[in-house]
Structure formats: C-alpha cells, structure tokens
C-alpha cells in the first residue's frame, strides 16, 4: 500500500512539473511581451526597467529555472498589472472564497444527488423517478452560465433575501453554489439510480428480506452502502468540473475568488498571474485527485491493493 501511495505521489509531482513546463512554454510562445502593446505609451527607459524587473531580459532557460525554483518555494511572483499585490497575495485572498464555494457546491451534490438517485430507483417508472429524471436532465443540459443568469433574473431580483451577487454572508453563497452543484448533482443521481437498480435485484437483498429485516434497514445498510461506492470514484472528475464551473459562476455572481482573478488576468494579459493561477490550480486539483484515489483504495475492499497483486 505504501509503495502504491509513493508511486502515485511521484506521478503527481511529475504531473505538476509537466503543467509548469507546458504553461511556461505556452506563455513564452506568445509573440512580444506583456509590455509590448504599451511600448508606444511608456518611455524607453521605463520599458527597459520593467523588462529587467520581471527578468524578461535573461535567456529563456534561466527564466525557466528561476521560475521552477520560485514555485518550489511557493512564490508565484509579482502581478504585472496590479503593482501593489503579489500573485501569492491574490491567491491568499481568492482561494478561501473559491474553496468555500466549491465545498458548499460539493456538499449539496453529495447530499442531494444520492437521495434523489435512491428515491428514483425505489420508485422506478413512477412519478418520483420522472421528477428526478427531469432534474438531472436540466442539470446536464443547462450550462452553468445560463443557470446562474436565470437564477439571478428570476429569483434574486424577486426575493430581497437572496442577493444578486457579492460575497460575505451565507446568503451570498446560496445561488452560486446551487448553480455549481446542478451538474454534478445530476451525474451523481443518475449513477446512484443505476447502481441501486442493479443492487436491488441482487440475491443478498432477498436473503436480508427473508431474514426478516425491515425494508429501511435493507435499503440503508445493504443497498445504499454498495451503490455509493462508484460515486467516490467519480469524485475526482466532479471536483475538476466544479473548478471549471467556478470560472464562469464567480464572474456572473461577482464573487472575488481565484476564478474571477484568472479570467480578469486573461483579459489583462497579466502573464505572471495567469501562470501563477494555472500552476496553483493544477497543484490543488492534482492533490485532490491523489487524495480521492487513496481514499477510494482505502474504502473499497474489492480494490484494496494487495502486495504484488493488482
């Protein structure tokens, strides 16, 4: 087991290095540099100072090594547009916000997804099943930016208690986290439904029934427990989807998270911020994937890794 963890850890580190390298190469293929557009406006000596300040006058290989070294110390450099702030400060400010939002959305989908799926399976081809199916079809078909826009238009502007945007109190998080949660919720409920339907036909449930166990005990102890396993395996993908969704949701609801910084930095062509956020996001995501993978092998006895086996 520890050998497996070590192997996965090594692979994660290589992946992070690959992301850093690819980002570096991509950002350096851009013709010119971030200050080139303003070349006409800013005087020659200031331009040269800027180039020197960000180390753009050094050879690419040296820039690359400096960048790697800095990231190893979790130093993402200074923003090229916002003079007062470093990229680290922006991440420190934005990440707790994005993480809180993402966590709330994950919680919503992990609580309501399995419930919806279980109800759908227990009432197969009856009204509750159809209602759950409609919810999951909406979740899969309506992209986050539409969902968010319409939630603002038809709920936030009608009810004063839910604000149209901003950040600070719990009520600010309601609509954006629902928006973010819809797609994973839909996927989880479908997965739960098909898993439950398969398990409900298994012999051991009949055995449990003939033993005299009540229906609720059978469902909770035998069926749900087994059906919930595949959901853990897609948790990594879910987290990555939440991340992708957070860019647009933070923009729509005006939430000061990393997603919004990233989109703004893209518009401003703030290269250090783009690179910093990309690498930071990749590190977070790859760490999450790593943890999910380890958790899954710990939880599911069927794929628990035996020494030398597979």
């Amino acid at each position: 087991m520890s050998k497996y963890i070590f192997k996965r850890l090594l692979l994660s580190i290589i992946t992070i290095w690959a992301v850093i390298t690819i980002t570096f190469v991509l950002m350096n293929t851009v013709p010119g540099n971030p200050f080139a557009n303003e070349n006409r406006r800013i005087p020659e000596n200031i331009y040269e100072n800027l180039i020197r300040k960000y180390g753009l006058d050094k050879p690419k290989s040296e820039q690359y090594i400096t960048y790697l070294k800095n990231i190893a110390r979790f130093d993402f450099g200074e923003s090229m547009r916002s003079d007062a702030e470093t990229v680290n400060e922006m991440i420190n400010r934005g990440f707790p916000v994005s993480a809180a939002l993402g966590f709330e959305a994950l919680l919503i989908s992990l609580i309501f997804g399995p419930i919806l799926g279980t109800i759908a399976a227990l009432y197969q081809n009856k009204t509750p099943d159809y209602i759950s199916m409609i919810i999951s079809i909406i979740g899969v078909s309506v992209p986050g930016f539409l969902m968010g826009t319409f939630l603002i238009q038809f709920i936030a502007t009608k009810f004063d208690w839910v604000p149209i945007g901003g950040w600070g109190e719990f009520r600010h998080t309601i609509l954006p986290s629902i928006t973010l949660a819809m797609m994973p919720l839909a996927q989880i409920s479908r997965l739960m439904r098909s898993g439950m339907l398969e398990i409900l036909n298994q012999d051991y449930l009949k055995t449990a029934g003939s033993k005299g166990l009540t229906k609720s005990v059978i469902i909770m102890k035998h069926a749900v427990r087994n059906a919930i396993l595949p959901i853990i395996s897609i948790l990594g993908t879910t987290i990555s989807n939440l991340l992708a969704g957070s860019f647009v949701v933070e923009k729509i609801f005006g939430i000061p998270g990393i997603g919004m910084f990233f989109v703004n930095s893209v518009f401003n062509r703030d290269y250090t911020l783009i690179m910093g956020v990309t690498v930071f996001y990749a590190i977070v995501l790859i760490t999450m994937m790593f943890l999910v993978d380890i958790a899954y092998t710990l939880i599911d006895p069927r794929i628990r890794l035996i020494k030398g086996g597979h």
């Binding site: 980002t23 079809i137 309506v142 992209p143 319409f150």
Partner: protein
C-alpha cells in the same frame, strides 16, 4: 473388392453459387440492427436524435431562409420582438437573430463534432498502439496520457485561446478545436487501450495471429470493429462537452471573435436585452444550447443502454 468404381461422369461439379443447402433462409439480425432496434424503442434518445437531425439541417440551410445575412445591420429595425419578418427578432444593432442563431448552432456543431472526431482519431491511434505494444511501452504511454489528463481541462482551453488569439479577446474556430482536443483525447485512448487489451486475448484475434496476420491488420480488422460500440458512446458524450466548453468560453468573451456569432456570445449579448425585458434575445440562444446538450446527452445514454450486452436478448 473392386465392385465399386468411381467414374468421372458420376460426379457433378458444384459451383459455390448453386450450392443452396447452407443458405440462410431467415434474415439474420446483425449486431448494429439489434442496436438500432433497441435504440428506436428508447423514446428519449429518439427525441434527441430527431432534434439533432432537424438542428443539423437547419444549421446548414437556416441562415439563408430569412434573407438577412448574419452581419447585416439595419439601425432602423433594432431590438424588434419576434415577428413574421424577423422570426427570432433582432438585436441591438438590428441584425437578424434567426440567421445568427442558426449560424451559432452551426459553429457549435462544427466545434463539437470536429473536436470529437480528432479525439477519436488520436485516441484510437494512441490507445491502439499502447494496447498492441509490449508491456513496457504500454505502461510508459499510459503514464504520459495520465499526466496530460491531470492538467485541468478548462485551464488549458482558456490558456490556449489566450496564447493564440491576437487581440486578447476572441479566437478562431480552429484554435478552439485545438484547445478542446489537447487534453480531450485521453479518455478515448484509455477506452481503446482497455478494449484492445481485452479483445486481443479473444479467440478470433488468436486465430488471425496464428494465420500470420500482422498486429496492424488484427487491430484494423478485428479489434476496432468490435470496440466500435463503446467508442461510439464516447464520441457522443465528447460532443456536448466540447459544445459546453465553447459556449462557456464565448459567454465569458474568450471564444469566437465578432461578428461571428456563437451561441455563447449570443447569450452574452442577450444579457443587456434581458435587463430591460427583451427576454427573446437571451432565451432563444439559451434554448438552443440546452437543446443541443440535452439531445447529445440522451442520445449517448440511449446508445449506452442499446449497446449494453447485459440487456441483449
């Protein structure tokens, strides 16, 4: 001995054609016929398929129906509600939304289908080679794929469209497709490799190999046709993913460059209209995106059910 003598004229030469005894009298239900039969009974999937066919045809001819080109501005007719002349109304610059929405649908479909096809080609090639190679090569190739896939998809898409766009906002269809496929091919490669590993142990592959067939031949003639079902499902669910990414990107202003309309940019343009009650400007492109996503998703689900061997009778 010798009572029985065979002569030449006792035998009749039988050609392959006239030999009727082994002819199959009843029509055989071929694999894909069975799949189609099961798919046809799935009402939701058929609804999706019909919507897709209609949208596909309309995305080709729809831009010509109204008689107004998508970029034609008529400042005397701005913000008109849907009427008999402008079926979907006009936007703030007096452009015909009917033409623009269908052109946007065309871009979405082109991006979705091209991205899925490129994913398919790279995935089949990469996964096929990995699966047919020796264990060492296979492991190395799959590690590389795993690393590429760990790179967050949306970050790559945004990054690529930033790097290759000239003005900082907006990019071309080609770049968008490139951005989608750069990490998108990995699930297909994983799938194909898994299928190859499974199918190359099958008896018919073994038979072909013992008859001296090359690896490439076995891959082309035996393994890929048999893996086509799962591959087809994967292609069907890749398309809405790409459409979704493009629409999201365009909505944020990072997608297609104006005046080319994409369903995402049309929705973004409609935001201003919605604020003053012109709902048609945002609702129509929204419905189109949702219908595309809905149709591809239910079709993919339907195909999965239709191809599931557990349900085969």
């Amino acid at each position: 001995m010798g009572g029985l003598a065979f002569k030449q004229d006792m035998f009749e030469k039988v050609s392959r054609k006239s030999h009727k005894t082994v002819e199959i009298k009843r029509p055989t239900i071929r694999y894909w016929e069975g799949v189609w039969h099961r798919l046809r009974q799935n009402k939701l999937a058929m609804t999706g398929l019909i919507i897709l066919i209609i949208m596909g045809i309309m995305s080709i001819v729809g831009t010509r129906i109204s008689g107004y080109r998508y970029y034609e501005q008529d400042l005397t007719k701005i913000n008109q509600a849907p009427n008999s002349d402008y079926r979907f109304g006009t936007d703030e610059l007096g452009r015909d939304l009917f033409s623009r929405v269908w052109l946007g649908t065309r871009y979405s479909l082109i991006i979705g289908i091209c991205a899925a096809l490129i994913d398919f080609l790279i995935g089949v090639l990469y996964g096929g080679i990995a699966g047919m190679s020796s264990r060492g090569v296979d492991v190395a190739m799959m590690r590389v794929a795993e690393i590429i896939y760990s790179i967050p998809h949306m970050l790559v898409v945004i990054l690529i469209s930033v790097v290759f766009s000239t003005s900082g906002t907006g990019t071309s269809v080609f770049i968008l497709i490139l951005a989608m496929t750069i990490t998108g091919w990995v699930p297909m490669a994983n799938l194909v490799r898994g299928q190859v590993l499974q199918l190359k142990e099958s008896e018919y592959s073994l038979a072909a190999e013992s008859l001296g067939a090359s690896k490439g031949w076995i891959l082309k003639k035996h393994i890929i046709p048999n893996a086509l079902g799962p591959i087809l499902i994967n292609v069907t669910i890749t398309i809405p993913k790409a459409i979704f990414s493009e629409a999201t990107l365009s909505f944020m202003g990072l997608g297609l460059q104006p005046p080319s309309p994409s369903l995402g940019t049309l929705t973004n343009d409609g935001l201003a209209g919605m604020a003053v009650g012109r709902y048609y400007q945002i609702v129509i492109p929204s419905i189109f995106i949702s219908l595309l996503m809905f149709s591809f998703n239910v079709l993919g689900d339907g195909l999965r059910d239709a191809l599931d061997p557990k349900l085969r009778r």
